[in-house]
């Protein structure tokens, strides 16, 4: 299902989900710091960042749900495999942003593997954010030109928020890298480890290719150069060493995930799965 070329409107939906899933899963990961930050100001910084990601995910899922509801019923049935969603579709009900977040199973999620990697310690959390924020900044900057007006509007709005995230994580890379021997060793270790998840950010899937050809998607090969330059600049100032490993993990964008995603969903989706359609 995941690698088959699909028609334009379905592809647009899958492309939107890919962006939304990155925002939701990374946002959820960052929110795990809430109440556990090393000092209050940093706890607040991460909680704010998580909220930005969640808000962006919400706008994108609303757009995805609108596109999904406009598809013919036969096609709707082929897109997601979870029983909970299939039940709604079979009954002919419209779905909304909450359904997409809470009722899809792991193999329906399209986020990059980097987003779901665990927080571990402060260094790993900062590195993951830095690598992703730099990507996200150039990604949203380019997405502003999307022919899909909703995607372009979300990008325009999100770019301002992502700029704060990027400043925060870049400054922390420098603070830790150019800090003590201990902080430098730990941030370098985290960088070497999570570096292997950066290749996937620039992998071009069938969905990416179709979206680009359709005029709604971003040319991610083109933003790779910008990303690389910016990463180099910050690492240099942080006196950190650019990792040399070239072997890269991949799969998340095509719905093949690490074991971590299941645990995130188990926690995030529990209430909706246990008490369907609950509200608070």
């Amino acid at each position: 299902m995941t690698n088959q070329p699909v028609n334009q409107s379905t592809n647009r939906l899958l492309y939107t989900l890919q962006i939304a899933d990155n925002a939701l899963i990374l946002g959820h990961r960052i929110s795990e710091w809430c109440g556990h930050g090393p000092i209050l100001e940093q706890d607040i910084a991460l909680t704010n960042t998580a909220l930005d990601h969640l808000g962006q995910a919400r706008s994108l899922y609303q757009h995805a749900a609108d596109m999904f509801n406009a598809l013919p019923a036969d096609e709707q049935k082929t897109l997601f495999s979870s029983t909970a969603l299939q039940n709604k579709i079979t009954k002919g009900e419209n779905i909304d942003e909450d359904d997409l977040a809470y009722l899809r199973d792991g193999w329906d999620f399209r986020n990059a593997l980097l987003a779901e990697q665990p927080n571990k310690d402060w260094a790993y959390t900062v590195v993951r954010s830095f690598l992703y924020d730099t990507f996200n900044f150039y990604f949203y900057a380019a997405l502003q030109n999307s022919k899909d007006v909703v995607l372009a509007a979300v990008a325009e709005k999100s770019l301002k928020e992502v700029t704060y995230h990027l400043r925060w994580s870049s400054e922390w890379m420098i603070r830790l890298g150019d800090g003590t021997d201990e902080s430098k060793a730990r941030v370098q270790e985290a960088l070497d480890s999570y570096w292997a998840y950066t290749g996937e950010l620039f992998e071009t899937t069938v969905v990416d290719k179709t979206a680009l050809a359709d005029g709604i998607g971003v040319d991610i090969a083109a933003i790779k150069t910008q990303w690389q330059q910016r990463v180099n600049t910050v690492l240099e100032e942080a006196t950190l060493t650019l990792p040399t490993n070239t072997w890269m993990h991949s799969g998340g964008k095509e719905c093949r995930h690490s074991e971590h995603l299941g645990y995130i969903l188990a926690e995030m989706q529990f209430m909706q799965r246990a008490y369907p359609d609950m509200e608070w």
Partner: protein
Amino acid sequence: MTTDIKAQIYQWLQQVTDPEVPVLTILDLGIVRDVRIADDEVTIVITPTYSGCPAMDVIGINIRMALLSRGFKRVHIEQQLSPAWTTDWMSEDGKRKLKEYGIAPPVRKTSDNPLGLFEDDNIPCPRCHSEHTELVSRFGPTSCKSLYKCLDCKEPFEHFKCH
């Protein structure tokens, strides 16, 4: 006729405040983009400040309540993302009220570089007006605010971020 109703609606909207910063009305904030009236239906177009701002849902409810209580039966809240909200849309009156409330208002800096690091905006203290202040964190208790402290009067204060 419609113009009169519209002007009246704006007056009522001027009484709907931001639940997080209650001295600001939604018109001060600059988030009301349009008011449309068609027969007995009124549509208020608002733009969110930040994507994840939880106050937006509350503001939507409060607008609805304000208009329902004035006899409108069909009130529709429409969210518009583009053009993205900016603090440039905040009224001068709003900025003054913020300062009186103890929150430093947003000031546009010509040198704003999105990729600049460790750049500390020179934000005057809303209490003693000293410019001898220091950024504590770019993130505050709500998405729209950052944290500063005054090095003269030693008081911490919030700054409504320039966005």
